[in-house]
């Protein structure tokens, strides 16, 4: 990163906060204004501070737009319901099995069970992230990332102020692992479908020679190849 480029933090915040419909246009507008007005008129420091000010003041509007377009509510619903439903089912199953065993009904949940239930919840949200259609994947990825980061705030608060820490930290783990599972699933799928030719940022293009004429270089190339073939085979 050089001083003549917009700050990475600002770009990352925009990526997280902007609704899909405005992401390209607002980032384009800010980059253009940064390069053509802010940088030549006030220098790199002024331009970068202007960019960050624009990002911070735009965040509330962008987040409210995303709530209005149902991007955030949908992901919240899927990330947390997708996590909690299998976990609650597993809990209910365990309670039922233990209720059938004398003197075992009120036994505490062992750590292994809690870890297994968290893993199950994360697996289901991972599956959701993996199976969502490609058209929605980018939106869900960005929203899950935003949710996971937002969930880190109560965790940090609980770490700093023990009075806020919930018993067993279980709810906070659910808050983080739900969207994290979706994000990991969507990212894994995106990497799986990406072909090696596209990975370098360059799309490999193959132009099929369809018109055979003297002006078409591909046609001439084909013609040379055909001429190079022994006449016995060509016949």
């Amino acid at each position: 990163m050089t001083a003549s480029q917009p700050p990475i933090l600002g770009r990352a915040l925009l990526w997280l906060a902007l609704p899909e419909s405005d992401l390209q246009t607002i980032r384009g507008d800010l980059d253009e204004e940064f390069a053509t007005h802010a940088l030549p008129n006030g220098g790199a420091a002024h331009a970068r501070s202007w960019y960050m000010r624009q990002v911070w003041t735009s965040l509330p509007h962008s987040l409210s737009s995303r709530c209005r377009t149902a991007e955030i509510p949908q992901t919240v619903l899927v990330a947390y319901l997708g996590f909690l439903v299998p976990v609650a089912t597993l809990n209910a199953l365990r309670s039922y099995v233990l209720s059938q065993i004398p003197l075992k009904a009120d036994s505490l949940r062992p750590t292994e069970f809690l870890v297994a239930s968290l893993a199950l919840g994360m697996f289901t949200t991972f599956l959701y992230g993996f199976l969502i259609p490609s058209a929605r994947r980018n939106v869900i990825c960005r929203t899950s990332c935003l949710l996971a980061l937002a969930s880190l705030l109560p965790t940090l608060l609980a770490l700093l102020v023990p009075a806020f820490a919930p018993q067993g930290w279980y709810p906070l783990r659910v808050l983080i692992l739900g969207p994290a599972g979706v994000l990991i699933g969507a990212t894994a799928r995106r990497n799986a479908v990406r072909s090696p030719a596209i990975r370098g940022g360059k799309k490999k293009q193959f132009v099929a020679p369809t018109i055979v004429s003297e002006n078409n270089p591909n046609a001439r190339f084909l013609d040379d190849k055909v001429r190079a073939v022994p006449s016995t085979l060509a016949d």
Binding site: T25, E32, A35, S65
Partner: protein, 109 residues
């Protein structure tokens, strides 16, 4: 009598900026126009949120242009006023004029 959407102060300012800019009206140009004329440092997010809301009400219409290198290959979204937007703006301006008529000159100028 047909009813037109009521416009807030910022919506009127944005629509007037669109009128002033004509074909060159896109998000950042609108923001710059408002800043230069009113002195308000407006967030680009606020401009787009307002434009999106007014597009839902059919007061403005947007079209996406070609990507340019200085925008990092991203397309520009231009806006223009619709007939409904124009009528709503006139109605709001008329209401404001009616309310200010006859008041002390120092309030109006």
């Amino acid at each position: 009598m047909p009813t037109h959407p009521n416009l807030g102060e910022f919506e009127q300012i944005v629509l007037l900026a669109l009128l002033r800019l004509g074909d060159a009206a896109y998000g950042m140009a609108v923001r710059r126009e408002i800043e230069s004329r009113t002195g308000r440092d407006v967030a680009i997010g606020a401009v787009y949120a307002t434009l999106d809301r007014m597009e839902e009400k059919a007061l403005v219409k947007s079209s996406v242009g070609d990507p340019t290198p200085e925008r990092g290959g991203r397309a520009k979204r231009s806006f223009r006023l619709t007939a409904l937007g124009s009528v709503s703006l006139k109605q709001s301006q008329r209401a404001l004029k009616q309310m200010t008529r006859g008041l002390a000159p120092e309030l109006i100028s």
